[in-house]
């Protein structure tokens, strides 16, 4: 490897410690899957872990579902190469969680069964609403999945020295195994194991960094400023256009409240109070994690150096692993590499499960079979959908090899904020919301986001190398989310529906009271 010639690093070479940790992780999670498979007999187990997950466990699992390798490696890399600008992301990824708590978590748990479409369709027409919601869900899941798969392939190639395609296939096979056999119960525990590994790995790394600076973060930041100028502690050119920053901020803040794999987790707890508590734990853990990225990023800047980080990988993604190698040698690099792999694996498992729920619960059971599918059929379809999605994920991951897909996570958040969040919010809180409003809002939200991202500088300039772009913003949420809300409102007012408005009385009651224990929420 040419890298090793310039920089003393073992990144890119097969790492036995990394392999060892990784096999322990795979063995543990497959053991969990085997245990969970024997408890996964109904759709309620498959999609919602039998509603048996405690609030603390669900909080940790939410953190596991949410903290992707992009946040761990990407933000640490961004901070290490740009300083303060990277921190803008650290805060942006957290601020959606309070919104989830205040507006979404409890109503979702009280109104729905397995997917967010359950809530939107509750008093509206099943077929069109479920179709539109499934399109929004699958678009979000597909984009997120591509980004994770491509990230997985390149990172694992770099960290473990195994070929890209092999890495993508390993990820695909493992995620199919977790989800298909172990359903939500296995997926939840994979998230918990991953979250504990990621948080402890990041904490040990941050602690080792701070030891060098007398446990004083300001001393660390000061050392960065002394070496690279006070500019690294101030906003730089990342936010040269305020509207870009606001648009991205909107996607991150409201997209979190529309991510299907996150929303689905609220069905795994016994009641709304547990859903509420789980967001509290998740916000605490995720916030702690992003505060640690401040330390990891500046630590890598001072101790490793931006030039070295970029020479190993131009995107800066190797900042945290390089820092680990510097402070803990090859074994610690191996541990952090295995943690990164586990992180990706857990996130794709959560995504696949939510995609499978949209395909089987929303499309097959509600649209195709009009609620007349037997329990055994529902479970079989969910498992087939899992395999299908896993294969599609692997194929997409391999076909997007070498492409710059970092923007796809931002795009997934933009679709979640523009297609899923507005319809969900209006269906819970607005009496006069109608089927026409819901369907048009979700479809306009999805298509407008996709069209605007195609016309944006992200695709036109960065990807297609055109001189300029039709649409000025890199992330479309600033336009697409308000337009989606407006479409929903205008269409509901133009096509009022008395029966649907009457049905709202029951929603108003159930948002707070829930359904009586034992009753079928979809009935």
């Amino acid at each position: 490897m040419p890298i090793a010639a310039q920089v003393a690093t073992r990144i890119g070479e097969p790492n036995t410690v990394a392999m060892g940790f990784f096999f322990v992780f795979i063995a543990t999670t497959l053991g969990i899957t085997f245990w969970a498979a024997r408890r996964t007999r109904t759709t309620e187990h498959f999609y919602a872990a039998g509603r048996s997950i405690g609030p603390r466990q669900n909080g940790i699992a939410l953190a596991g579902d949410y903290m992707s390798a992009a946040s761990f490696l990407g933000i640490a890399g961004l901070v290490s190469t740009t300083g303060f600008d990277g921190l803008i992301y650290s805060t942006g990824w957290l601020v959606g969680w309070p919104i989830v708590l205040f507006l979404i978590a409890e109503p979702l748990r009280n109104l729905g069964k397995y997917t967010f479409a359950d809530v939107v369709a509750l008093r509206l027409q099943q077929t069109p609403v479920r179709l539109a919601a499934a399109i929004g869900t699958l678009a979000t899941v597909a984009l997120y999945l591509i980004a994770q798969m491509v990230g997985a392939g390149s990172l694992i190639k770099l960290l473990f020295g195994i070929p890209y395609e092999t890495a993508v296939i390993i990820v695909g096979v493992a995620m199919i195994a977790y989800v298909m056999f172990g359903g939500m119960l296995a997926t939840t525990w994979v998230q918990i194991v991953k979250a504990v590994l990621l948080l402890s790995g990041a904490a040990i790394l941050a602690f080792l960094v701070l030891l060098k600076f007398g446990l004083n973060p300001a001393a660390l930041f000061g050392a960065a400023a002394a070496k690279y100028g006070d500019g690294v502690l101030a906003p730089g050119k990342l936010v040269s256009k305020p509207l870009d920053a606001i648009s991205l901020g909107m996607a991150l803040m409201f997209g979190t409240a529309g991510l299907p794999h996150i929303l689905m987790r609220f069905y795994t707890v016994p009641d709304a109070a547990a859903a509420r508590r789980s967001v509290f734990y998740a916000t605490g853990l995720i916030g702690t994690f992003y505060l640690m990225t401040f330390i990891l990023g500046f630590g890598a800047m001072v101790l490793v150096g931006p030039e070295v980080i970029k020479s190993v990988e131009p995107g800066g993604n190797m900042a945290a692993p390089l820092l680990a190698e510097l402070l803990g040698g090859t074994p610690f690099l191996g541990f952090i590499s295995a943690v990164a792999f586990a992180t990706i694996l857990a996130v794709v498992a959560g995504l696949t499960l939510s995609g499978a729920a949209a395909l089987s619960h929303d499309l097959w059971v509600s649209v195709v079979r009009k609620q007349h599918a037997s329990a055994a059929e529902q479970l079989a379809v969910a498992r087939i959908a899992t395999i299908g999605l896993g294969i599609v994920g692997v194929v997409l991951g391999i076909s997007f090899k070498g492409q710059n897909v970092a923007f796809m996570v931002g795009l997934a958040f933009a679709i979640a904020a523009s297609a899923n969040f507005p319809a969900l919010l209006m269906s819970i809180f607005w009496r006069r919301f109608t089927t026409a409003g819901a369907v048009s809002s979700m479809l306009v939200g999805t298509t407008l986001t996709l069209v605007l991202i195609y016309l944006s500088p992200t695709v036109q300039v960065d990807l297609l190398h055109h001189g300029s772009a039709w649409f000025p913003l890199k992330n479309p949420a600033l336009v697409s989310m308000p337009v989606s809300f407006l479409t929903g409102i205008v269409m509901s007012l133009l096509r009022p529906n008395q029966a649907e408005a009457t049905g709202f009385a029951e929603i108003e009651r159930r948002v707070h009271m829930g359904v009586a224990t034992g009753a079928d929420p979809a009935a």
Binding site: W97, I99, A218, A219, A224, A245, F294, V511, M513
Partner: protein, 93 residues
């Protein structure tokens, strides 16, 4: 299970309170985060000002955005765990 009229009235009051608290906290969170973003966009010198060596206003405010997110969720969960849940329990009886 249909609610009696007095129950329905009490649920409406509770729902109103819950809605006002949720909206107020949401608005506060939006104001804090977008305030931070606008300061980054339009007050770069202020954000780069060093309070003590090594600690700029921007880094401090960034950390405070995270701390504020925690505080707001804590405020809501605290209210809901004590008042809201107890009131719902009384209504369910």
């Amino acid at each position: 299970m249909p609610l009696s009229p007095s129950h329905a009235e009490r649920l409406r009051t509770l729902a109103g309170t819950q809605w006002r608290i949720a909206v107020a906290l949401t608005a506060t969170m939006i104001a804090i985060y977008f305030g931070f973003i606008l300061l980054i966009a339009f007050a770069k010198p202020l954000m780069g000002h060093l309070i003590v060596p090594g600690l700029s206003v921007g880094i401090l405010l960034g950390a405070l955005v995270i701390v504020c997110s925690w505080t707001l969720t804590w405020v809501y969960v605290r209210w809901a765990n004590t008042y809201y849940d107890a009131e719902l329990d009384r209504l369910r009886k």
